[in-house]
């Protein structure tokens, strides 16, 4: 029993020194590897090698980069105050004007946060948006805007005003008036009350 203990003691002291050697070698190797890596990184930074993978998006094609999100005001009905209020939302907006207009109007159609009512009838789609040289924006909606409308002068006024306010808030310089179209055609009215035969703007 005691013999066995002696052997173990002896064996353990020899194993300990061996362990130190192994650990020491490993640490030296790690330190060396780390040094080499850092050196290589530093070298690659200094010499702008064109073949290196693009570290920054600047080097990529501009149309492929998602633009940073921008704040947009969408005008929705505050059901307690009974007025249209700007509701902020973030959208990655396109640089091109008409595409940006389409994006914002589509966002207005889709947005329905709690405590607010969207004044665009459900199912409405923006077919196309176009801005002419007179700074008139033409917004061509699907027939749901008229066929799905609840009617009444107030509701019709709210629908039109929400569109106009959203457009003029986002494009204060670029758009002066808005002409509403339904499936590519001019319409007399949405729900039988407002006259939509001409482009509209808001009295400030």
């Amino acid at each position: 029993m005691s013999d066995n203990q002696e052997t173990v003691k002896h064996n353990s002291s020899a194993g300990f020194s061996r362990l130190i050697v192994i650990w020491g070698t490993t640490l030296i190797l790690i330190a060396f590897g780390l040094g080499v890596t850092l050196y290589l990184i530093e070298r690659s930074k200094q010499s702008a090698v064109p073949t290196a993978p693009p570290p920054l998006p600047i080097a990529a094609n501009p149309s492929d980069i998602p633009p940073p999100p921008q704040e947009v005001n969408l005008f929705l009905l505050d059901t307690t105050a009974l007025t249209l209020v700007p509701v902020k939302t973030e959208r990655r907006l396109h640089a091109e004007l008409t595409k940006r207009l389409s994006q914002i109007i589509t966002a207005l159609i889709q947005e329905t946060p709690p405590n607010f009512r969207n004044t665009i009838p459900r199912g409405t789609v923006l077919n196309e948006a176009y801005i002419d040289s007179q700074q008139t924006a033409y917004l061509d909606f699907s027939n749901h805007l008229t066929d799905g409308h609840i009617g009444g002068t107030t509701a019709e006024l709210l629908t039109i005003t929400a569109i106009l306010k959203t457009v003029f808030d986002a494009f204060p310089e670029e758009i002066k008036q808005v002409q509403i179209l339904i499936d590519g055609e001019e319409v007399r009215t949405l729900a039988g009350h407002l006259n939509l035969l001409q482009p509209l703007h808001l009295f400030q």
Partner: protein, 403 residues
């Protein structure tokens, strides 16, 4: 053992607890008494008061009133406040007789008796309910103020019991045409909006349709107006689809001098309610481009012609507003917008939105035939008010003839 411990504990705590509770009770009783004392003298007057207004809707006096069952009673002082500050009164307590002296006449009233005697004429009137005593004071029923007193001062009264509002105006204001037969040359066009299977207008959750409400009201208006000597033409008599052009043709054919388009409103919020008046103005809250010159020639002429009628349309809208305000708790709003229904109407023209089918309270009113009857009466009074403000009545212009 354990329950005994708990009980002891409760007992030990209960003494200061009870004291605290007593203090709280005393404080709250004291607070409530003070609150009641502050509120009490004001509350009956606030809850029950009658507002007397003049022909233009301006307040003459707001008098405190007492309600006894279904009846509303006003004090003798209200007679002085509303009709005659020089009126004197004598009340004989034992005999329960009240004598009012006004305009060299005596009005004899007896507590508990509905008969009113007038001296020296000897005429008598019967009240629907007799004068009574409240808090040792003689009190007069509202009918005395709406049916008997106005006659003394050559006035006519209109009473709205739901809003406790009385309108007083010179006699003959509402019955002028029926008596004088002076409105033969007046033709009013009433346009019940929408119609037909495709154009139902707005719809309530209960299935009530705008096109039906406005047609029923239009027919009622035609009947009442013609009783008052005012000729009325409807743009549709049945539930049929009519274009805006066809409606305007009715107005032109009959040489209409006033165009009233009837509609029911709707909103995306169920809270929005009330009567609204809309005027056609291409330069209103929503507007067409400012450069009229850029519009096509025909369109430009139309815009200019419409502008000529805007002032007259506003005058009629004000008449409507004054009359309809009598029926509403909040004043009727007026908005100017480019309106398709009136865009070709070369005459004073107004769109009247009777109430919101998307609002529960408005829906209830619009489903109530009594309310509709009151609205119809108010509209006819607005016609009368407008016609009498124009003397001689405006003839159709050369421009209109050209159309």
């Amino acid at each position: 053992m354990e329950s005994g411990y708990t009980e002891r504990n409760v007992k030990a705590l209960s003494l200061p607890n009870r004291t605290a509770r007593n203090i709280r009770k005393t404080v709250s009783v004291l607070f409530l008494s003070i609150l009641a004392w502050v509120i009490a003298p004001n509350s009956p007057a606030q809850e029950n008061s009658v507002r007397f207004i003049d022909a233009n809707g301006e307040t003459i006096a707001e008098t405190p009133a007492q309600r006894q069952g279904e009846q509303l009673y006003l004090s003798v002082d209200a007679v002085r406040q509303v009709f005659d500050p020089a009126m004197t009164d004598q009340y004989n307590h034992p005999r329960k007789r009240l004598i009012l002296k006004t305009k060299d006449q005596q009005i004899r009233l007896q507590i508990g008796h509905p008969i009113v005697g007038i001296d020296p004429s000897g005429l008598t009137h019967t009240l629907p309910s007799p004068p009574i005593i409240i808090a040792q004071q003689p009190m007069l029923p509202i009918a005395f103020f709406t049916r008997i007193l106005p006659d003394f001062y050559n006035l006519e009264a209109l009473y709205n019991p739901s809003l406790q509002r009385v309108q007083l105006r010179p006699k003959g204001t509402w019955t002028f045409f029926a008596r004088a037969g002076d409105s033969v040359n007046w033709a009013i066009i009433i346009d019940p909006g929408h119609g037909g299977a495709d154009d139902r207008g707005c719809e309530s959750s209960t299935g009530l349709l705008e096109k039906d409400i406005v047609l029923a009201l239009a027919k009622r208006l035609q009947r009442i107006s013609e009783e008052q000597g005012i000729k009325v033409y409807l743009t549709r008599q049945t539930d049929t689809k009519k274009t805006h052009f066809e409606r305007i043709q009715v107005a032109k054919r009959n040489q209409g001098q006033l165009f009233l388009s009837l509609h029911c409103n709707a909103s995306f919020s169920p809270h929005e309610k009330g009567i609204k008046i809309y005027l056609n103005n291409p330069k209103g809250q929503l507007r067409f481009p400012s450069n009229v010159q850029s519009a096509p020639t025909g369109q430009r002429l139309k815009i200019l012609a419409q502008a000529n009628f805007l002032k007259q349309s506003q005058d009629f809208a004000h008449a409507l507003q004054t009359e309809l305000n009598f029926l509403t708790e909040t004043p009727v709003e007026m908005t100017e917008l480019p309106l398709i229904a009136l865009s070709e109407a070369y005459m004073p023209a107004v769109v009247l939105e009777l109430g919101y089918l998307s609002n529960v309270e408005d829906l209830e009113k619009l489903s109530d035939s009594k309310y509709i009857a009151n609205v119809a009466q108010a509209i006819v009074r607005a016609f009368q008010r407008h016609i009498s403000s124009i003397n001689p009545p405006v003839q159709s212009t050369a421009l209109e003839q050209e159309q």
